[in-house]
Structure formats: C-alpha cells, structure tokens
Amino acid sequence: MYKFIWLVPLLPLAGAAINGIFGRWLRFPEKLVGGIAVGTVALSFLISVAAIYSYGFGGNGLWPNPYVSTQTAFTWIPGGAVKQTLGQAAPGSGEAKTISIANQPVTVPAARSSLLNIEWSYQLDPLSAIFMLIVNGVGLCIFVFATGYMHDDPGFYRFFAYMGLFMFSMLVLVMGSNFVMMFVGWEGVGLCSYLLIGYYFNRNEAANASRKAFITNRIGDFGFILAIFGIIATFGTAQYTQVMPQAASYPIEMLGNWGLMSWIALGLMIGACGKSAQFPLHVWLPDAMAGPTPVSALIHAATMVTAGLYMLTRTNVIFQHSQTMMLVVAVIGAFTAIFAATIGITQNDIKKVLAYSTVSQLGFMFLACGVGAFVIGIFHVMTHAFFKALMFLGAGSVIHGMHHEQDMRRMGGLRKYMPYTYFAFMAGWLAICGIIPFSGFWSKDEILWRTASTNHIPVGWLLWIVGTIAATCTAFYMTRLMAMTFWGKYRGDDGKEARGDDHTRGKHEHHPHVPHESPKSMWVPLVVLAILATVGGFVGISTAFTGGKEVGGKLNIVTWLSPVIWNPSTKAFGAEPGEAPAETPAQTIRAGAPINIERQAEGGLPYGDTGFNLAHAVEAKLGSETATEWVFIVISLIVAGIGIGLGLLFYVKDTRLADVWAARLAPLYRASYHKYWIDEFYGWAVTRRTMDLARGVFNFDAKVVDGGVNGAAWLTRLSSKITGGTDKYFVDGLVNAIADFVVRLMSPIVRAAQTGLTANYALVMVIGLLLAVAYYLVKMF
C-alpha cells in the first residue's frame, strides 16, 4: 500500500487545479467546490493512513527502514554521472582503491555513483509518516470547517484552490526524499501563506501582512538554501538516505568549535527561524492573522510553522554534531517561548493572543530540539497541532458567531450562545495549560523535564526556569482568553442578551448583533479536534507513569520515531532494543560536574561536561530517576495551576484587578502591549534604513547618473550644432557655389537644343537612327 504514497500530495493538487481553473469559469457552486476540496483531502488522508499502517504495522512493513518511492520517481535535476578516468573502481562502491599506473601506486578516490542527480521521489519514514498524518488529518478537519466559515464568500473557489495548493506544497515538504524537494515545498507553503494571508486583498492590512510574511520568510529561506548548498557540497548528494549516514561519521564539534556541521546547522537554523517564527524573525506571524481564520489554523498554527521543526528533526544528525548550534537552538527557543508568552498576556484581539501563543509554543518545540529531545519536539508539534488548530477554529467559530468581531473586550458570556464551541475550546484550553491528562500536558511536561536533565548543552537549568515561567504565562493568558470570551457577561454592542431566544441559526443577517452557534460543518471538526486534543497525548505518555519503560510498542511516538534520531552516545541511529532512547542510565550519581566526568569516562556523555544539571542534582538528593521525574511533573502541574488561578483571580473573581495591576506595572504593561516595540524597531532599523538607502541610490541615479547622461546629451548637441553649422554653411555653400557656376556656364549652350519644335526632335531621332544603322553597316563591312 505504501507504494501509492505519490498519490497523497497529488490529490490535493488535482483538487486545487480543478477548483482554481474551472471554479470561476464554470461558476462552480459552493457545494461542488467544497466537495472537491474536502474529498481530495479526505482521500489523501485515507491513502496516507493505509500507507502508514502497511509501512509500520503490515505484514511486510519496512519500519524502521525508510521507504523511498524510487519505482515511481524520476530524475528531476539530472547532473550526469561522474566519469571515472582512472582505474576501475565501481561506481558507488564507496571505497578508495589503489591501482598501479606506470609501476607507481596511485590511490583512486572512492567513486560516487552520480555527481548530483536530484530525483523527485517521496520518502516514507517514521518522521514523514507523523507529519503526513498531522497535515492530512488536521487539514481535513480545517477544510470541513472552512466550508462553513467561508460560506457566502465571493472568492470561495479561490480560497479552496489556494488551500489545496498549500496541502500539496506541505506534503511535498514533508514527504520529499531530498533537501531540494523540501525546499520546493518550503517555498510552496511560503507562497500559499502569502496568497492566503492576502486573501482579503482589498484590505490594506492584509496586503501589508502578506508582504511582510513573504519578505521575512525570504530571510530565512536565504539561510536554508545556503545550508542546502553546503550539504550538497559536503556530501555530494541531497538525498536524506545518503546524507545522514555520511553526516553521522563526522566528529562532534564541541561548544566553541565552529566547523562544517555548525555552518550547515546555522543555515538550517536561520531557515527554521524564518518559517517557524522564532525570535528575530517572528514578526510576521502575528500579522498573518489578517488572513481568514481557517488559514490561521491550518498554516499559522498546525502545519506550516512546524516545517522548521520538521527540518530540525530531519537534520538532527547535523545539529547533534554541533553543540554550539544546539545551544543556540535551545536559547532561541526558550527566549521566544517566554517573550511571546509575555506579549500574549496583554493582547486584546483573540487571534493575536492565539498567534503569540503559537510563537511561544513553537519556542517550546525549539527548546526541545535544542536540548536533544527531538522526538519530544515532534510530539509537541503533534499535540500543538491538535489543540492550537482546535483553538483557532474555535476562535473562528466565535468570530463567525460574533459577526466578525475579534476584540475580546466586546465578547464575554458566549458559553450560553455557543455551547459546542465552548466545550471544544475548553479541551484546548486545558491542553495548552498542561493539565493532566490532556495532550498538552504530556508533551510540555516532557520538554521541561528533558530541558532540566539535558546532557547536550550547558545551562539546562536556566532554560528550565525560563520555560517554566513561560508555561505559567501560557496558562495565565489562556485563562484570560477563556474568561474574556466565554465567561462572565456578554459585552456586545447593545448588551441585550434576551434577543438570542428567537435567533435562528445560520441566518445571522437578520440579527446582526446577537452571537449564535456556528453551523454543524463548523462545530463537528471542533469536536473531533477536541477529542484528539484530549486523548492525543497518550501516544507519548511519560515514562514516569509506566514504570520507566516506553509502552505500546510502535504506537508510542518515542519508539516510532527513534529510527530517525541519531544517538550521540551510541553513534548510531535509533535506540538499542529494550532500552529507552536518550535516557540517563540508572546509576548512583552525585550533583554537579563530577557526575558528568564519570559518565564521560563511561562513554555515555558525548558532549562532555555541561556544568550544573538540575535534574541530576535533584536525582542525587532523591536517589531515584522516576521520583525526580515525578517532582518535575508536580512542579509543572503546580505552575499551570498558578497560571490558571491568577487568570481566574484577575478576570473572573475581580475584573478590576487586571486594570489595577496594569496601572501598577505600567512600563511592563506598555512594553508587552506594544510587543516590545520590535515592529517599531524593525521599521526604524530595517524598513526606514532601506528606504533611506533607496532614496540615496535614487538621488545618485537622478543626480550623478542622469547628470552624466544629460551632460553627454548636451555635449552631443553642442558638437552636432558645430558640425551642423559647418555642413550647412561651408560644405553646402561650396557645393551650391560649384553647382551655380556650372549652371551659369553650361545653360546657354545646352538650352539651345531645346527648340520646342517637334520636327527638330524627330530629326534628331532620325539622325540617331541613321547613325546607328551606319555604325552597324560599317562594322559589317
């Protein structure tokens, strides 16, 4: 079945092509457009489920080896074969060979089977399988939702054409078998993001936001493409299956050593920062909320922004070879997590809050990758896709129900009007806050635990503190969002609640000011996602709950993904059978540095001494790893409780408290409310400077270049005047004088021939005739 995965990206593309080309031309009704779009995505989802089942669990499943669809592939960018001029080393044998030329031994380098043949083929492996399920599964829910949300929109067909194109690009990104295909998908999703953010192109802010997103992404893409060049130059191929084993054989570059792997990882990290909205390049994501809400859910929460995480995990071999870049990833992730979370506290637009929440959660994922827990990063991608898509769709439902009102200060009390949305949203809220047993708890707690216990980088304890504070902020602002939106009293325009009674669902034109529940096509996906957000976390259940072992076999995400992850301790891919991957070995340890030295001596610590380690310190006190994990679980539950409690206190119990504290902490409040003036700073430092530069260049062009051109023109005109005058008065004068002289001289003679008498002319003719005949006769005799 997994031989049919090439259909998975192709079907949404076909749907998009039909909708995009014929939708307007043949005036497709909404039902047909929606049916084509949802149908193709659903079919694609079914195929991917069947393919992944047969790949991982079927009788002849290939797991843990990747499946590359070479049977149905073609060479997309042919580079030609390397010509072997010396010796007979077989192409692809991969071994250097010594041959004899003129009785001298010559070492022939290992032959490469090809110079650079980039093929268009799809790869099915544990990582791409998870992403296929996320993209298709969450995408399907969002497509169904969008058929309801975009109802009566004049650009209905256009919306679904773009969405289908996005699905295709995203699937190419995650299913491609080489870096160049990943880049194609990468750019494709960037393009679709641009198109969909600017979907309401007649609104200025949407147009600006789409441009901002595109340009910011270009900066990241620049780094990414440099990294791809680096990879191709280093390994001679872009195919994952060939790059990864080669990369694994490189030596690890410790902190401060800056080698080839670090350069490549830096480029990849810049790309990931751009796409996943990490700190210096995060500015586009909140603005991207100008697009329709399903777009925000699909592209800017669940799938596209996690492409950076996909790339980081895909290239985890390279990252794990550079301790410096691991630290950079972790620090950027942790900083972004707390930075965006603090902004989220003060925003009033419901979608802006969710956008900053997304940035913050992406920061958590980067933190996980940075501390070496790539699997947990992907786990958080998955749970985040569930609960954040749910919350965005819930926000979309609210906005729909509120007749396109996004300001939370005008909401409130919507629980009564929108029960389905409310309960679905509640599941998302509990998940993102990290309440056991909702999905967010499992992934976020695991991230914090791995941060505290990391052996990959130093200052893990500091990052843990930052991450814990960010988690508290998350719980606080999400509680605030819940309280302002669903609880309390309705604060709509006229404040009349009673009019909701005679309200008919779906005919909101008649009651423009009363919120209402959304149609079935919108709340059913919400319920599906709510169920996923509730139970989805069990695929990565913490080992503290299961007696220190990964349970569930391949259904456990840690076991499932382990073949993709390079293990720096064993210098091999995947974990040894029967042992938890990347876990600290159970042994008696003491706090601080000496432990690490002990472990390093045993070969268990490839990154050497990473300084103070919080988890190890606690473990030394308690003497048991499971107990230590329980301590951290309890801590993260407590901070989530604190966040929720503060939120309830500020926005439910005493709503005046929020204003009071905002006034007390006015400088902090203003900084947060204005997003730390990052946009203003970029506007001043980048946009204005670019404009200055443009103006300077324009002035240079206008004054210097144009001046030169105009001067040359003036000079030409001057010289032409001189030569023209010479020609007119001197040359022409001479010619005229000569002509006049000749005329005066010759005309009395010549004009005598013109008598005007016909007979004379005839006579001349006759004489000429006679002369001709005479000449002829004379010649003859």
Partner: protein, 134 residues
C-alpha cells in the same frame, strides 16, 4: 497553290523555257529585293513627311506610311521564308495584323489628341506648338 498545281503543271509542260514559265517561276519564288526597295522608298517618304510637314494630320499620314513600309517588309520576309522553309512564315503575317491593329488604335488616340489640341490652341500647325521649349 496545291489546287492549282495540275494547271500549273500543264502550263509548264506547254511552254517550257518560255516567258510564261518565267513568270510562273517569278510568282512561285518572288524576288525579295524588289519588295524591300519599295518598302524602303515608302519608309523614306514617310520619314521625310514627318520631318518636313507642319500639318499634324499630314504627319499622321506619314507615320502610317512608315508603318506600312514595315508591314510590307514583314509580308515580304514571310513569303521569302515560305520559299526557303528555314523559319516560321506565319510570324510575319501575324505581326502585320498586329501592326494594323495598333496603327488603328494609334490613329484613334492621335486624332483625339489633335481635336483636343485644336480646341485648346486653335491650331494644328506644329511649329506653333512649342510648349516643350525650355
């Protein structure tokens, strides 16, 4: 000529070597030079008329003479070629017919010009028509 040939043969037999036979020989094979001389005389008369006469109508007539001289030449050569059999004898006769047609057309145009000229200038004396002078 073929229908007459029995008669001619009879005459030949009766007066062999006499004047009749000579005349018949002259008809069967006419002397080319005589026709050419007559044509040359006609041509010279025509040219002289064109050069010397002042009346436009007379000049026209002289042109006709020139054309007829040419016609006569054509006919003579045609007959000559018929005798010798070294060329297509019909060509000359066809040319003559063409020339007669062209001459008729030319006369029509020319007389039209003469009438127009007379209406404008009230003269057909060509020494008075000297507008082509410088």
């Amino acid at each position: 000529m073929t229908q007459l040939s029995p008669l001619c043969l009879l005459l030949l037999q009766e007066t062999s070597g006499g004047r009749i036979a000579h005349a018949i020989e002259g008809v069967k094979h006419p002397d080319l030079s005589k026709f050419l001389v007559i044509a040359a005389i006609l041509f010279i008369i025509g040219v002289a008329g064109v050069l010397t006469r002042r009346n436009l109508l007379v000049i026209f007539m002289s042109i006709e003479l020139i054309l007829n001289a040419a016609n006569l030449n054509f006919i003579a050569f045609s007959r000559y070629l018929q005798d010798t059999g070294t060329g297509n004898p019909m060509a000359g006769q066809i040319f003559t017919v063409f020339i007669i047609v062209v001459a008729a057309a030319e006369a029509a145009v020319g007389l039209g010009i003469v009438i127009a000229l007379y209406r404008n200038r009230e003269t057909i004396w060509i020494d008075e028509i000297d507008l082509m002078k410088w």
